[in-house]
């Protein structure tokens, strides 16, 4: 098991390193940093001095190593926009808004998704089952940017129940979290429904029924427990969907998180910030998958026995 973990950790590091290389190469192509940093009145001498200062006269591989070394020390440079803020500081300051939104969305989708999945499986073939499946189909098919705008139109503009966008107390979370979560909610519902149906038809559930275990206990204790394993398997994917979904959803709702920061910095060609934000998001991405691996080992006895 330790060997397995070490392997996964090494893989994660390679992924992060590769992403840093991709970002480094792309950011050199995106825009000429010198042109961005120089004022209009700068002379050719100023230009040369800045090039030397930024290390752009060095060979590419050397620049990359310097970039990596600085990154390890937490130095990602400064934003090239007016504020000239420290890039890492800027990204970290936007992190709480994103994490709280993703956390609430994930919690909501897990609870509601499992409930709906169980409901649909238990009432298989009825109107309730059909309604849940239709909702799941809609959730998997609606693009989040459109869904967000429609929710704003309905609940903020027409009904006036919730704020249209922005960041603040609990009411500000409802629409963005719903938008961010609906796709995952649909996926969880489908997964739980399918694995519940499988479990309900299995030998051990039949045995429990023969032994006279009540229907509630059969569903909750015997069937549900095993049905949750696939949900855990896909948790990494779900979390990943939330992180990348944040770019679109935070833009729609003017949410001050790293998703919108990523979008804004790419649009402004602010390459120190782009590098930082993409690396931070990738790191979260990889971390999420590692945690899921661990959870999986803990939850599934078969995996433990094998390793």
């Amino acid at each position: 098991m330790l060997k397995h973990l070490a392997g996964r950790l090494a893989e994660a590091l390679v992924a992060l390193l590769l992403m840093s290389l991709v970002i480094f190469l792309l950011s050199r192509v995106i825009g000429d940093p010198v042109a961005l940093l120089l004022s209009d009145s700068a002379t050719e001498a100023d230009r040369q001095m800045l090039i030397a200062q930024l290390g752009l006269d060095q060979p590419g591989w050397r620049q990359y190593l310097t970039f990596l070394g600085n990154a390890l020390k937490g130095d990602f440079g400064q934003s090239v926009t007016a504020g000239r803020e420290d890039a890492l500081h800027l990204v970290l300051s936007r992190l709480p808004a994103s994490l709280s939104l993703a956390g609430i969305a994930l919690l909501f989708t897990l609870v509601v998704g499992i409930l709906l999945g169980v409901l649909a499986a238990v009432t298989r073939g009825t109107v309730a089952d059909l309604a849940v499946r239709l909702l799941a189909l809609l959730g998997q098919s609606a693009p989040s940017f459109w869904l967000g705008i429609m929710l704003i139109y309905l609940f903020a503009v027409k009904l006036g129940w919730l704020p249209t966008s922005g960041f603040g107390g609990a009411v500000y979370y409802v629409l963005p979290a719903l938008t961010l979560g609906l796709f995952t909610l649909a996926a969880i519902t489908r997964l739980v429904r399918a694995s519940m149906l499988e479990a309900l038809g299995s030998e051990y559930v039949k045995l429990a029924r023969i032994k006279g275990v009540s229907e509630w206990a059969v569903v909750l204790r015997h069937a549900l427990g095993n049905s949750l394993i696939p949900v855990v398997t896909f948790m990494g994917t779900f979390f990943a969907t939330m992180i990348t979904g944040a770019v679109v959803v935070e833009t729609v709702f003017a949410w001050p998180g790293i998703g919108r920061l990523a979008y804004e910095s790419i649009m402004a060609r602010d390459f120190p910030v782009i590098q930082t934000v993409v690396l931070v998001i990738t790191a979260f991405f990889i971390l999420a998958n590692l945690i899921v691996d661990l959870l999986y080992l803990a939850i599934d006895p078969r995996m433990r026995a094998r390793s």
Binding site: E11, V14, A15, L18, M19, V22, I23, L26, V29, I30, L130, L137, L138, Q140, S141, A142, P143, S144, F145, W146, I149, M150, I152, Y153, V157, A187, R190, L191, A194, S195, P230, F234, A240, I243, T244, G245, V247, V248, T251, V252, A262, Y263, I266, M267, R269, I274, V278, I281, T282, F285, I286, N289
Partner: protein
């Protein structure tokens, strides 16, 4: 029973989408690119002030929304076809080779696939698109770069399954070359699973393209792309909901149909895949 009904309905919807995309633009009454300033933000025909001239209303430049949705269908379909052709060919070639040859090539290629699958898709696409600028060609390259890995993984797994079958052994002992074995015996047998992947990806491609266009790095204006239209209508959502709502509805309908058809195909062709598309 309702499952079969929904499958037929979804298939019908997809065929309609293809027909609209292919020949719809020839039957348009209005030019999707040119508007009339006197007809700005006209509501759709069923609204109180609507008129039959513009069935689905007009946008902020007075362009016919229906005409733009029809033209947008063509762009969506074109992106799908080209992306799936490129990503499918590259992914299948690498995956099949990886599974057939095995050894270090397989190990290296599968590591690359794992890496490709572990990177944040939209972010990568946004980065590439921002570097090379918005254009049809770039959209296609970006989305293909992101999606080829799924074909590679699938075709590798399927090749591993097929390559030790008796008929492949027989072909080998009868002196058939490797290329001939791959083309005549391996590929035809792994094709059904790949078709399932391709079907499920139509929805993914449409949503990715729409999202990129929505974020302003997709199909450049004035060309109508469904995602771009939703973005343009966003500022007028209070007074003219149809500009955003209707192109988005087109996306939902097509992607929904694709998902229903894809699920049904998965059930029929390769039940082992179930749930993996989630």
């Amino acid at each position: 029973m309702p499952r079969d009904l929904s499958f037929k309905f979804a298939l019908g919807l997809l065929i309609l989408f293809a027909i609209v995309a292919l020949i719809g633009p020839f039957f348009l009454e209005h030019d999707p690119l040119r508007g009339s300033l006197r007809a700005r933000l006209d509501p759709p025909a069923w609204a109180p002030e609507g008129s039959a001239t513009h069935l689905l209303g007009t946008d902020r430049l007075g362009r016919d929304v229906l005409a733009r949705i029809v033209q947008g269908a063509r762009i969506s379909l074109a992106v799908c076809v080209v992306v799936i052709a490129i990503a499918g060919t590259i992914g299948t070639a690498l995956g099949t080779l990886s599974g057939y040859v095995g050894g270090w090539l397989d190990r290296v290629l599968m590591r690359v696939v794992d890496l490709a699958l572990s990177l944040p898709v939209i972010l990568l696409a946004l980065l590439f698109a921002a570097v090379v600028g918005p254009s049809f060609l770039n959209i296609v390259i970006v989305i293909s770069l992101v999606l080829w890995s799924q074909y590679a993984r699938m075709s590798r797994g399927e090749t591993l399954r097929v390559k030790n079958e008796d008929y492949v052994d027989l072909a080998r002992t009868s002196g058939l070359g490797h290329a001939a074995i791959i083309f005549r015996h391996v590929l035809p047998n792994i094709a059904p699973s790949l078709i399932v992947v391709a079907t499920l990806q139509v929805g993914v491609v449409i949503i990715l393209e729409a999202s990129l266009s929505f974020l302003g790095v997709g199909v450049p204006p004035p060309n109508p792309s469904w995602g771009g239209m939703v973005a343009e209508g966003r500022s007028y959502i209070v007074s003219a909901w149809w500009v955003s709502a209707l192109p988005g509805l087109a996306i939902v309908l097509v992607v929904m149909a694709v998902n229903v058809v894809g699920d049904a195909l998965t059930d029929r062709i390769n039940p082992g895949l179930k749930g993996r598309g989630a």
